[in-house]
Symmetry: C2
Subunit: 248 residues, 2 copies
Amino acid sequence: MPPFLSGRFWRAVFTRTRGERLWAGHRRTSGGPGCRWDALAGADVLRAEPDRFGGISVPLERFRALDRLDAASFQKVLQGAVFDENTRKILVVQDRNKLKNMWKFPGGLSEPGEDIGDTAVREVFEETGIKSEFRSLLSIRQQHTNPGAFGKSDMYIICRLKPYSFTINFCQRECLRCEWMDLHDLVKTENTTPITSRVARLLLYGYREGFDKIDFTVEELPAVYTGLFYKLYHKELPENYRTMIGMD
Amino acid sequence: MPPFLSGRFWRAVFTRTRGERLWAGHRRTSGGPGCRWDALAGADVLRAEPDRFGGISVPLERFRALDRLDAASFQKVLQGAVFDENTRKILVVQDRNKLKNMWKFPGGLSEPGEDIGDTAVREVFEETGIKSEFRSLLSIRQQHTNPGAFGKSDMYIICRLKPYSFTINFCQRECLRCEWMDLHDLVKTENTTPITSRVARLLLYGYREGFDKIDFTVEELPAVYTGLFYKLYHKELPENYRTMIGMD
């Protein structure tokens, strides 16, 4: 008999409960000084409550929201291109587990509700021990059917960060190597991914001819009605275009 | 007794089945020539099967994947700024249901596995009847706790599109009005959202001083190992920086 369901709740009686959890949803967060593994809060149990039929009901609101979300969602990976203009050095890592010997920028998955720049800064710190601040958004990659993206499209965002600490203390579990490399060497090396190489060239272009040539900078703007604010990223707009004074 | 669960399956016996569905997860897709309402495939029933205890089991694999996805996901909304360089006109709509009298760019939710530019082109066509092609990525908005984003952060991406049809046939259910507006008028109007106004100014800047000043253009690059390709968006890189020939 197909179990078609009705009502606001999915009504189910659990015939066996073993007192152990179904699964402990551990999600990898990158390491560094903290180098931690977090349990995903709230993901390891399903909320249930006694119902008026003497059974147990599990509210499906959350699944419903996830189903709707499912169709339009994707995961977001941030990478931080930490570039020191004073020394022309860029922070790069080699993965321990994959892409061995390939230099790339440190980074990792965004937390829920986390700003783009905040993710990049946090992941860089956790993975390498380097403190930095957000400068701009440099590049976006969209890839479908990525094996690591839970069957979703992924969004890979590369930010330009400015370092304000310089002593590397990288996560040994995650990285094989981590170093400050001359930007020109990164542009020339073959031991890197196509995207890293491309962004290295982009950074060199910005370094030589002005970062305004490559940056999407950020600004906070008010949302209509809701009273909320959002972050808007685009090419820097000259002041006269912002105000439109004398520009008829 | 708290209903902790065990094993690969969430084992549940349904004490009542009414033969009706729990919910029909209709998701709004924008209209236009098609102007359709789609049921979200597979979202309206939960798959279940008889288990060896004489009850019904519901595989939780999918929920597990969604839980993992949950932490890193967000929804993606695309808007298309369809600008006709020959006439300096931009395609704008007014929502029927919200933001009344506020001019904005047409757009909507991305489908799973859909490219950024493809979503913008599709949504513009469905909402307004205008055919266009992708030119560039202009701006990205990140907003948290948006009421329409199922409790997730949302990612709002605005693309520059070039029209190749010009006769408006807009979705009456979705839009109150739709027209080709002089870009300068959109810059000046107060009946618009802050983000639309900002992007209108950005477009005016690009129109007057070159779209290379504002565009993130796209290129397809090969992924390492997987044999897949991905789309990479960033400021156009001059040819000498791509090849690095004679640039030591």
